[in-house]
Structures are given as C-alpha cells and as structure tokens.
Amino acid sequence: MKSIPKLIRRFVLILLLSIFLFLALNVGFLIFYTVGHSTNRGPWTAAQEAAESMEQTEAGYVMSEEMQAELESDNIWAVYIDNSSLKALWHSDYLPDTVPLVYTASEIASITRGYIDDCPIFTGAGEDGLMILGYPQKSFWKHMYPSWDYQMIESAPKTALTVLSANIVLVLLIYIGANTGLLRSVRPIVEGIQRLPEGEPVSLKERGILSELAFHLNKTSEMLQSQKYQLRKKDAARANWIAGVSHDIRTPLSMVMGYAAQLENSEYLREEDRKKASAIVRQSHRIKNLINDLNLASKLEYNMQPVVREEINAVALVRQAAADFINMDVDGRYPIEWETDENLTVCPICADKELIKRAVSNLIQNSMNHNEDGCTVYISVSVSQPVCPSENTEAGRKGADSNGYCVISVEDDGTGVSDEEIEKLNHAPHYMVCDTNTREQRHGLGLLIVKQIAESHEGSVEIGRSGHGGFGVKILLPLDIARKKEQNKEQNFYV
C-alpha cells in the first residue's frame, strides 16, 4: 500500500517538473525569437546614429554616405529639422510627398509617439536639429501612450513574486486535491488486491473513476472464492470417501479377525491349520492398521482432523505409549528399552495428546512390522537447546525461535534401511500427497502420518539410521518453555 502514494507523488512531481521545463523552454524560445527578429540595432538607436552622422558643410547639412546607403537599403526615409525654425534642413532622396517639411511643436510631439502616413516614426537628437526616420509601413507597431503608474512599476517585482507564489500554492493545492482524491479511490482497490492472496472475499463498491477496476476485482474474488469452495468440497469429499470406505470395511473385518482368532486357538484344528488362522489374524490386523492410518492420513492431509492442543508432558506420554506396547507384546519378541535421561522428568509441549501418542505408536509399530524376527526398540525423549538464537538454522526455526525442542527418538537394532531408502523416505513425497508418478512410492502410511502430525505441531521428522544398528526416527516438537519454567518453580517449592 505504501508504494501507491509514492507512485502518485512521483507521477505528480514529473508533471510539475515538465510544466516548469515547458515554461523555461517557452521563455527561452520567446527570447530567441525576439532577438532574432530585431534588426541589427533598434530603430531609436538608428535614428540617434543618423542624427549624429549629420555634418554641416558649406552647402548645408549632409548625411554620411554609409548611413544614407543603409537607410536606403531598408526603404527608410529621413528628415532633419532645425531646432529653432522647425524647418527641414535636410531630407533623404526618397521621401513620400505626404511628409511635411515644416513642423509645429505639437506635430513633432505627435509624430514622435506615432506615425506619419502609417509609417512608424523614430527620432534622434542631433547637434542642432532633430532627425526624423520614417520606416516602411507595417514594419513596426508603436505604443502611442507608453506611460505607467510609477508605483505599479516600482512594485512590479513584488507583484510578480506574489503572483508566482500564488501560482505555486494553487498548483500545490491542485496536487494535494488530486492526490487525495486519487488515493481515496485507489485505496480500496489496493486493499482488495492485498486481500486476494490471503483468500479473503473482496466486495468493493463499483463507483467513481476506478469502478471498472473494482468490478473486475470483485469478479476475480468471486471466482477465487468459488474455486476455493470447490477445492474444499473436493478435499472433503475425498476424505469422506476414504472415511466411508474404511467404515464399511470395519464390520466385515471384525468378523474375519474374530473367527480367525478363535480358529487360531481351536483345540480341534491341526497345528498347521492353526498357523494358517494365525496368519489370517496377523494380516487382518495389518489391514486394520492400514484402514486407521489411511483414514487419519487423509484427514490430516485435507485439514479435516481437529488438532486439540493442550499442554502435556512428552516424557509421560511417550512412556505410556511404550508401556502400552510392552503390555500388548505377549511373546516378548519386541523388548522396549527406555533410554531417557533419568533426570528428565518433564518435557513440556503444547500438542494433541492422541496424535502424538499415535505418532510414537506408529514408529514402534513400524519397527515391529519391518523386523518379523523380533528386535529391540529403543525409545528416548530429550530436550535439544537451540544452536544459537542468532543463527537462522532450520533447527533454530523449528525450535519455536529460541525455545529449543523436544526430541522423541524411536530406534531399533533390526535390519535397518539403505541410504537410498533413507533419502527417499526423507524427501520423496508419499503417493497420498503426490500428484505425479505413484508407482515407486509404495512405502507405508505409518511414516507419512508421523510426518503429518509433526508438521501440524510446527515440528519435523528426521529419518535415518539408529545408533543401535537398525532404523531410527526422531520427532522434533517445539518446547512449551513458559510452562517448563513455571514447573521448575513448582518443583523447587515442593521438593
């Protein structure tokens, strides 16, 4: 928005500058023109020079030949009259008949100001006479009464300055008026354009000089809103479709699981048949997990999963998730090692309890799924301080600016994965969120969900190798530091 007044200011400044430039150019041109049109010297000077060139000889008064030639070349006639008798002492060879040779004082006063027979007259004072030069008709225009009020002339500079400043003030007023007027009509449009990328609806009044612009802006906004609505509808439909399908699978799958579990323990079946039943149980359990994952992943992807965040202790939450798994792991093929520092009893985060527990469970389940022969799962929670608040590292940003973050680590000593796979897991998009080739991205939904959950909490996920030889994943979540400080205080109080 700041750029608009700047733009208008610049525009008006250019306008003002060009006005001054034009003025200067015009004045210059005028001066050049008048100078170009004036003869070598002014007619008054010529008359003076002609008067001074008169010489008294024995035969009477004579004009120098050069001067005569000059006058003749310009078709100027000349009469030199005596100061005392007012009679012509000399006249040029060329002289219209109408020009008198004897003058009265009033005639002299009159012709000095004006014309004789439409010929503009200029006079110059000689030694003992007056030189009258008659220029050709229409060669000069003469002001007959060239006199002004003295005070007016005296105050002319002041008047000129006043007029100039009045002009400047007027121009400024026009500028301010035009500027504010323009700004007033531009502002809603600019604000409307700014609202567009934020996805807000724009509805401007379509009037004034920019009504057409407002109309098109309204139209654009309408279109964007409709697209947004359609997109949301589509996403919701997709998520609902997945939810619907997974819902419909649940009841039949319950029956498969239930009967298979019964057969698994049936005393009437042969050992090998019981094994087959137990394979059905295991596989239907996988389908069950897949349905749950698919449903949650699609909801997280389309922002339809409510994330209810509250202050929770990550240590307690992860410990519970680990205990749940141990409680369920009947045959003890997947022992869990708790590797959290004993002194870390509280790691406060602001998060959705169920979702974080789900993420941790998914990681533990992931280790189990990929190590059918059993493996040890190592779980830890730690606090990672920001590297340095001034360093704008990704880790620093992830750590809620400068608060540091809670690191939940789930590792195993199982088969592990290749570098190539780690790279793929870290960077290649999952088929659920990818719009291009889907054939080569068939890894499970478990890790995608972990990533989605971390992202919905402004956190991140690092997939890599475990220090224990297998696969390892770290979830980084921003710490809720205010709460931690409060708790430290409370602890000190109680202990």
């Binding site: 009841t251 579990a261 239907s284 449903n295 410990r319 708790q487 109680y494």
Partner: protein, 241 residues
C-alpha cells in the same frame, strides 16, 4: 480363566449385523460367559433389557431404528449397569459423545477378540466386586477393602498413598503402570516432580508385601517406564491353570 462369579453376569449385545452378533456370542461363550442375549434394533434391545435385566450392555452406534447413543440414554434410565460401545464409528467426536453419556468403554471395529474380552472382564471386575476381595500375591494377601496387607497372619495397615498406588497397580495387574500414571494416582492433577517420593513409597510397599524387599517378585520395576504388580490370584480371575 474367569471366575464363575464373573462368568454368570448377564450380557446384552446389540448390533444390527446378525453375523457379527453370532461371532461375538461365540467368542464370549468360548471364554465362558453363560448369560448372553442379543438384539438387532433399539426396540428389540429395550424389550430384551426389560425381560433380561442385563448387568453389562455392549452397544453398536448405528442401528436401523435409531442410534446407540439414544439407546444408551434410554437403558440408563431403566437401570444403572456398565455399558460399552463396540462400533465402526471411530471418530473422536463419537468417542467423546459416548464417554460423555457415561459409557464405560468405547471400542472401534475391527477389534481383537482378546482385547474385547479383556475390556469386558475389566469392566465387570470394576463394577461387581466379589465377596472375597483379597488380592493374593506370592508372599501375602492384600485386602483393598480394609486397606491392609495380611502377611503371615499379621495385618499391616496401608497409608493413603500406598493404598492409592496399590489400587492403581492392582487395577492393571500384570501390566506396566507408568511412573507418571502412578504419580497421578497418588498426587492428583499436577503429578510432576514426585518421582523420588514415588520411589520411597514403592520401597515401603515392598517392605510390607514382599518376602525379600530387596529382591521383589510381586511389585517389579520396569526400568525407566514404571512398575508392575504380579498377582497370583485376582478377584474375578481364577489362576487355576
């Protein structure tokens, strides 16, 4: 194996899917439950409940003539007995609604039969206490009603905290109870910073219940995670294998 006392409880099963009803009934029967009735609609369930006077109801949410939430409200008006939902509706809001109405548990299909049985047994044990409430451990018995330990004929009283901790452990006998859950059971809503106190209390409980407190066999530590109570016989479950 379940005790006969628990097995004799009257269970009402409501689901619109007859095949599923058959399966759950067969699972329950296999486990030893004797009194099971089923219904496929709200109307049928209400009628059956009147005749049968169930002691536990397992309800589906989606029924042809109404929903399980409404059914639960109506059943609760008639009798106060535990109810749990077993449904394909796994949304959080459905779960919250179910628990909000007073459900004792909420299970989402598909489910593992073992889990269903475990939860049913847990609810029944919680709701219907046996006449003999003694928890038998390897070296002693615990009388939770009187909050005392009976060891070699001697009655040792439990402190309030010890009782709270043992109750929490007993409710989850055979399973790990995390440090945090135990602290919460003993110290309530703000259970942080009590880890050392917890260890002290556990030590004192062991002195009361174990033959050799330095080598515990009934109250065992699961390093870093929590503790586990190993009972030889729990009320409601026979360990006469």
């Amino acid at each position: 194996m379940l005790s006969d006392y628990i097995k004799r409880k009257r269970l009402l099963l409501v689901d619109d899917e007859p095949d599923l009803l058959d399966m759950v009934v067969s699972i329950l029967k296999e486990e030893g439950y004797e009194n099971i009735r089923t219904a496929q609609s709200v109307a049928e369930a209400l009628k059956t409940a009147d005749e049968f006077d169930p002691e536990l109801a397992i309800l589906d949410v989606m029924l042809p003539d109404g929903d399980g939430f409404g059914l639960m409200e109506k059943l609760k008006e008639k009798g106060d007995y535990p109810m749990l939902f077993l449904t394909a509706r796994g949304e959080d809001e459905d779960k919250f609604r179910g628990f909000g109405l007073g459900a004792d548990d909420y299970m989402v299909k598909p489910f593992l039969p073992k889990e269903l049985l475990f939860r049913i047994a847990a609810i029944l044990r919680r709701s219907y206490k046996e006449e003999d409430p003694l928890v038998k451990l390897s070296g002693c018995e615990i009388d939770l009603e009187r909050a005392e330990v009976i060891k070699g004929g001697e009655h040792i009283p439990l402190t309030a905290k010890e009782f709270a901790l043992l109750s929490a452990l007993y409710r989850n006998a055979g399973r790990i109870v995390t440090i945090d859950a135990l602290c919460e059971a003993a110290w309530g809503d703000n259970p942080y910073g009590y880890e050392n106190s917890l260890m002290a209390h556990i030590r004192r409980i062991r002195e009361k219940i174990e033959k050799n407190p330095s080598k515990p066999v009934s109250l065992v530590t699961v390093k870093g995670l929590g503790y586990k109570l190993i009972a030889e016989r729990q009320p409601g479950i026979d360990h006469k294998v």
